[in-house]
């Protein structure tokens, strides 16, 4: 909670993509609060471990609740929060290493539950906080301190991964496009189900991909990132798979499951209603065991 805490001294490096994500997230929340007259304390930011996770401390202005847990576990923590308190607005902020390497196991389960939270993933294709090792989204044959011969593992395709595990709502964005990103995050928070906003957020210190993403005419570099055309039907998962199959990075709404989205807590509530089941008291539970 940067502004309010002079003692807190974490800094992102100059030019770090996470700055843009921070501003976008602040704007998205501010607008949500304004529109709904909801108090900021109704939002919980669940942070992963990494430079990106420090977001939860860097946010300025009105302060939401936050939890900065352990590496890779932001999603299950969010599951615990949302299952206990469906009334809260829960947002996960994490990096590519945290979310897609050690934490990758937790994405599928939330997708299948359709847990009603939004995950903002800051993908810089590197482990930043630990000083530059390869992450799942580091490109093939890139040399890092842990890939001396160039990275031998293929680059993970996070979009194909999300589609494969059943994520119902998927947006791709750039950290530099703050206004659009703010909008994307806000709409994702409104989606009644599990939504992921996957952000290309370059690490200026260990993996500066700005020019790769935006391209560079002089150097004749084709931009890696490109806007998704109107032709794409985000409700067609096969089309979505086709869209993301190559190494270029489409920006925009990649997928949105067709039909109405029923969030996990709604499903449970409905199921309980159907079963019209009542909580027995301790007395009743014990008495049922009485030896007649």
């Amino acid at each position: 909670m940067a502004k309010r805490n002079p003692l807190y001294d974490f800094k992102w490096c100059p030019g770090c993509g996470d700055f843009g994500v921070k501003v976008a997230l602040e704007q998205a929340l501010a607008r949500r609060m304004a529109e709904r007259g909801e108090s900021i304390e109704n939002t919980v930011i669940v942070a992963g471990i990494g430079c990106s996770g420090n977001m939860v401390h860097m946010m300025e202005g009105p302060q939401p609740f936050g939890i900065h847990g352990i590496h890779g576990r932001a999603l299950p923590i969010a599951y615990g929060i949302k299952s206990a308190r469906p009334d809260l607005n829960v947002v996960v902020v994490a990096g590519d290493g945290d979310f897609l390497s050690i934490g990758a196991e937790h994405i599928g389960p939330q997708a299948r539950r359709n847990l009603d939270i939004t995950a903002v993933v800051m993908d810089n294709g590197i482990y930043g906080l630990t000083k530059g090792q390869a992450s799942p989204t580091t490109e093939l044959s890139v040399v890092t301190s842990t890939t001396r011969f160039g990275k031998l593992d293929e680059k993970m395709n996070p979009f194909l991964f999300y589609l494969g595990v059943g994520v119902p709502y998927l947006v791709s964005q750039l950290s530099s496009r703050v206004k659009e990103l703010a909008g994307d995050i806000k709409t994702a928070m409104e989606y009644p189900g599990f939504s992921i906003v996957h952000v290309q957020s370059p690490c200026t210190t260990y993996n500066d991909t700005y020019s790769l993403l935006k391209g560079d005419e002089k150097k004749g570099i084709e931009p890696l990132a490109y806007p998704i055309g109107d032709g794409h039907d985000p409700e067609d998962i096969v089309a979505a798979a086709a869209l993301v199959r190559d190494r270029r990075i489409p920006i925009g709404q990649i997928y949105r499951r067709a039909g109405e989205s029923v969030a996990a807590h709604q499903r449970l509530a409905e199921a309980k209603a159907r079963a019209n089941i009542e909580q027995s008291t301790v007395e009743e539970l014990l008495t049922a065991m009485t030896i007649a």
Binding site: M1, R4, N5, L7, Y8, D9, F10, S39, I40, E41, N42, V44, V46, I49, N54, V56, H57, Q63, P64, F65, G66, I67, H68, G69, I70, R73, P76, I77, A78, Y79, G80, I81, K82, S83, A84, R85, D87, L88, E105, H106, G108, P109, L268, A269, K272, I277, E278, Q279, S280, V282, E283, L285, L286, T287, M289, T290, I291, A292
Partner: protein, 560 residues
């Protein structure tokens, strides 16, 4: 007249040997007897050596019994493997379709399956055997008949036939036994009870205790022998704002609990050793960020996959120090089924009071046991809930020495619950003095938990017997017999293992403390010695509980 009847049904998994023992126990319980069951089976669905044992007594029961009055065995292996436990003068009932016992002076062969099939009631073979056992042991057949009538009158069409069929099966067994003329001493008449009694299993006692303690959220991953508590919760913690979920792993369970505890709920999971081993980092986070939650560890044989269905008390050391860094997780371990109910309430109260994780150590032998107990006196139930912030301290959740008001999301006091070292509002900072202040704070909170009760008898004796957990039963029985035999040994017991009640600790100073426990290392004795107590362990690591006789002779050996 004999006070006790101990019957063991031995055979293979899937042959209903466990069910047989439990049916016999339920029947006897309904007849007014005290009963206690114990069973052991392999980690597989069908096959493998399994047996279920029922102890039926006119007096309160502490253990399933060392030796058998009647051994019912389904096959040769079961006979060979269990004969050693048959008491002198004990009787054997065996499946004569499977094998023969040459000397029939103390054995009775019954082709129960065939008889049941022929009677057109194939499921009743166990009841035939129960009939035989009842006759041999002089258990009231009327009582059994009325049990059968009650049990199978469920208001469904065809109840009458089923009841009639089963009663008929019962008598088929009785006749088989009668023919042999074999007969044990009659079982004493059942006691009369003032208070209402219930027949309950250990995991049910733990689960209902948790509900009594106010648990609101329960998330777990299946694992023997802890799955039963999860499924009980699935079926019974069903209120509107209650949540029960199956996690995708124990790492998801523990971190989800952290989320639920952080969100203001009383939250719990049940697991066994392998799951606990995966929760170390998460428990460290709960300790560091000061999140209330309870982990029930139903101990089984370890390490690794170990012995999934056998009982052991070998997770104690890890329970207190489940992860890296300086922490000391509070641990409560019930010693009986009654205590299992109260232990769950105490564990939730502790976690809410000091705002941190608590581990409840159960055991396969407690969780799976069925027993008749007095209906718990619910007027004694006292629940605690965490001190909730009304905004008085702003966002300074971690301010002050020890516990401070807990800001609940949605309410005032937005802060960051942080697993990295942090300042008062939870922002990360690694300055030396802050680490010192916060570490002191985390440990100081443990002082709030020095309200653990304990038993202490014959406190003047120089040697004290101090078992823990489920070993309480056999240890207590051994202690009673030894005292009756004039051996002067003190008795202490507490389910509050960490922090230990300071008064108990003091009372142990200068004494010689014998600690019977089901593990190799003598884990609890080690812990006591580290606290300056002259403790020595009496260990057993067979995957089975202590026998009273073994404990007695070992204690005598130590005293000699």
């Amino acid at each position: 007249m004999s006070k006790n009847l101990v019957v063991r049904f031995a055979g293979e998994g899937g042959q209903g040997v466990v069910g047989g023992a439990e049916l016999m126990a339920s029947a006897a319980a309904q007849g007014g007897y005290h009963v206690l069951t114990f069973s052991t089976f392999p980690s597989q669905i069908k096959g493998g050596p399994a047996w279920g044992q029922a102890r039926i007594s006119s007096e309160p029961i502490l253990t399933p019994g060392d030796y058998l009055d009647v051994l019912v065995c389904q096959n040769q292996y079961a006979y060979d493997a269990n004969l050693a436990d048959l008491r002198e003068g004990g009787l054997v009932v065996y499946n004569s379709e499977e094998f023969e016992i040459a000397d029939n002076s103390r054995a009775l062969g019954i082709p129960a399956d065939r008889m049941a099939r022929e009677a057109g009631n194939p499921l009743a073979s166990t009841i035939i055997l129960i009939g035989a056992v009842a006759k041999l042991a002089g258990v009231s057949i009327e009582a059994l008949e009325s049990f059968i009538t009650k049990r199978w009158s469920r208001g469904r069409p065809g109840d009458e036939q089923i009841v009639a069929g089963n009663i008929n099966a019962l008598h088929m067994g009785v006749e088989q036994a009668a023919k042999t003329g074999l007969q044990l001493e009659d079982l004493d008449t059942p006691p009369t009870h003032q208070k209402p009694r219930i027949m309950i299993r250990g995991y049910e006692a733990s689960a209902i205790g948790a509900i009594a303690g106010g648990v609101e959220s329960f998330i777990g991953y299946p694992i023997s022998p802890a799955t039963t508590m999860l499924t009980y919760m699935e079926a019974n913690l069903v209120g509107k704002d209650r949540f029960v979920g199956q996690a995708s792993s124990e790492i998801e369970s523990i971190t989800a609990l952290i989320g639920s505890g952080y969100a203001g709920k009383k939250t719990m999971t049940s697991t066994a050793g392998p799951g606990l081993s995966l929760m170390g980092e998460g428990l460290g986070l709960a300790w560091m960020a000061e999140i209330p939650l309870v982990v029930v560890d139903v101990q089984r044989g370890g390490p690794a996959t170990g012995l999934p269905t056998k009982t052991e008390q070998s997770d104690f050391i890890m329970a207190m120090n489940p992860g890296h860094g300086d922490m000391s997780v509070p641990v409560i371990a019930p010693g009986s089924i009654e205590e299992a109910f109260w232990a769950s309430i105490a564990a939730i109260n502790w976690s809410e009071r000091y705002q941190g994780p608590v581990i409840l150590l159960s055991e396969a032998a407690i969780a799976e046991r069925a027993q008749d107990i007095e209906m718990p006196d619910l007027s004694r139930v006292q629940t605690e809930s965490r001190l909730v912030s009304q905004g008085e301290a702003g966002n300074r959740r971690y301010a002050g020495e020890g516990r401070s008001p807990f800001p609940v999301p949605g309410g005032p006091g937005a802060y960051v619950a942080n697993g990295s070292e942090h300042d008062e509002q939870g922002d990360t900072t690694h300055l030396p003095d802050i680490h010192v202040t916060m570490t002191d704070r985390r440990f100081k909170k443990l002082e709030l938990l020095d309200d653990g009760t304990f038993e202490a008898e014959r406190t003047d004796a120089a040697v004290v017997l101090l078992p823990w957990g489920g070993t309480k039963g056999p240890a207590r029985a051994a202690w009673q017999e030894l005292t009756d035999e004039g051996v002067d040994v003190g008795w202490c017991f507490t389910m509050f293992l960490n922090p230990l009640p300071s008064a108990l600790l003091e009372s142990l100073r200068g004494k010689r403390v014998l600690v019977p426990e089901l593990n190799y290392l003598g884990q609890f004795a080690t812990y006591l010695r580290s606290k300056g107590i002259n403790a020595e362990a009496i260990t057993q690591y067979t995957g089975l509980p202590f026998k009273v006789a073994d404990l007695k002779s070992e204690i005598r050996r130590r005293l000699a």
